[in-house]
């Protein structure tokens, strides 16, 4: 059994709201993997500001996305805020955000080409530690193979 709370989230808007709460309550570390188009919404929902506050208090934020020509500005802003960002070439649509290796929201596939806030998705929120461990193991494997965003920006 997955222990603790768990809820199925069914829209992009709700997923962003949950992600925002997770970042807000994180004290040490946030790790995220996100479709680049959704990064723009993270700015709109104040998630990026909350990440910045966490970093200013000594926390760490690491993120993986596909850095492409269309999304250079958001990635630059994240780097300016102190987030560590890496690029993966073959983004496969998964989404995850984990706070303090405990609370998480994730989805197997939110590969929406032109997402809107009302788009339906299927995401899973839980504060189960074992599930967070699984997500972090997946994140770390992707992180190990990803390219530093600064380097990617230079290439572009």
């Amino acid at each position: 059994m997955i222990m603790g709370e768990r809820i199925i989230i069914e829209s992009v808007k709700d997923a962003l709201a949950v992600a925002s709460t997770i970042v807000e309550s994180a004290e040490e570390e946030v790790a995220w993997l996100l479709q680049p188009a959704l990064l723009v919404f993270c700015f709109q929902f104040g998630i990026t500001n909350k990440s910045k506050m966490l970093i200013e208090k000594g926390g760490h934020v690491r993120g993986i996305t596909k850095v492409s020509g269309t999304y250079l500005d958001p990635v630059r802003k994240l780097l300016d805020n102190g987030e560590e960002v890496r690029h993966i070439d073959q983004y496969q649509g998964a989404f995850m955000l984990v706070g303090d290796k405990k609370e998480s929201i994730s989805s197997i596939n939110v590969n929406i080409e032109d997402p809107s806030l009302d788009d339906p998705i299927v995401a899973f929120w839980t504060d189960d530690k074992a599930y967070a461990d699984f997500l972090i193991a997946t994140f770390d494997a992707a992180w190990g193979e990803a390219v530093d965003a600064e380097k990617r920006l230079q290439e572009l």
């Binding site: 059994m1 997955i2 496969q92 998964a94 197997i108 596939n109 074992a130 599930y131 992707a142």
Partner: protein, 162 residues
């Protein structure tokens, strides 16, 4: 009491999937990369699915059907599994038995599809987690193409594809 277990090799993931299918009484749903279907056949998972179907159970599966995997997909159809094709397979993997037991990955770990390949999968017996996986599965299923139709398309693209 553990809430779930991380599985770290393709071989172990197949073993867990096999156990899930074996203990399923009503329905198994899976989303699997086509190369793993070949291992599934080799490790008797198809046979276990056949036994489930013969006892009145149901099996549904989604994969990306390309010419090298038409044969294994035909075997699945022949035993009574409902199979559909997705054009742009996202890399996620899941097997859910009786809306309870599951093994799944989140799809970012680009799998080394050899038997000794590394994978990061999560085994759970939580019905809520299974409900989430099935919700994702059902959405993909609704958008997927019937396997027979896909096989026909591949045949029409030229006999060398089959």
């Amino acid at each position: 009491m553990t809430s779930g277990t991380i599985i770290e090799s393709v071989k172990d993931a197949i073993a867990v999937a096999s156990t899930i299918i074996e203990s399923t009484e009503k329905e198994v749903s899976w989303l699997v990369p086509a190369p793993l279907l070949v291992f599934a056949a080799r490790f008797s998972l198809l046979e276990k699915s056949r036994v489930l179907i013969q006892k009145g159970g149901h099996a549904r599966g989604i994969t990306e059907i390309s010419p090298p995997y038409v044969e294994v997909v035909r075997e699945l159809i022949d035993i009574g599994t409902g199979v559909r094709h997705v054009e742009q397979y996202t890399g996620a993997f899941m097997v859910v038995g009786d809306s309870r037991q599951s093994i799944s990955t989140i799809g970012v770990n680009v799998a080394d599809h050899s038997l000794d390949g590394k994978i990061i999968a999560f085994w759970s017996a939580d019905p809520d987690y299974a409900a989430y996986l099935l919700s994702s599965f059902d959405r993909t299923w609704a958008e997927a193409t019937d396997a027979q139709e896909r096989i026909q398309e591949l045949g029409e693209s030229g006999p060398s594809h089959l």
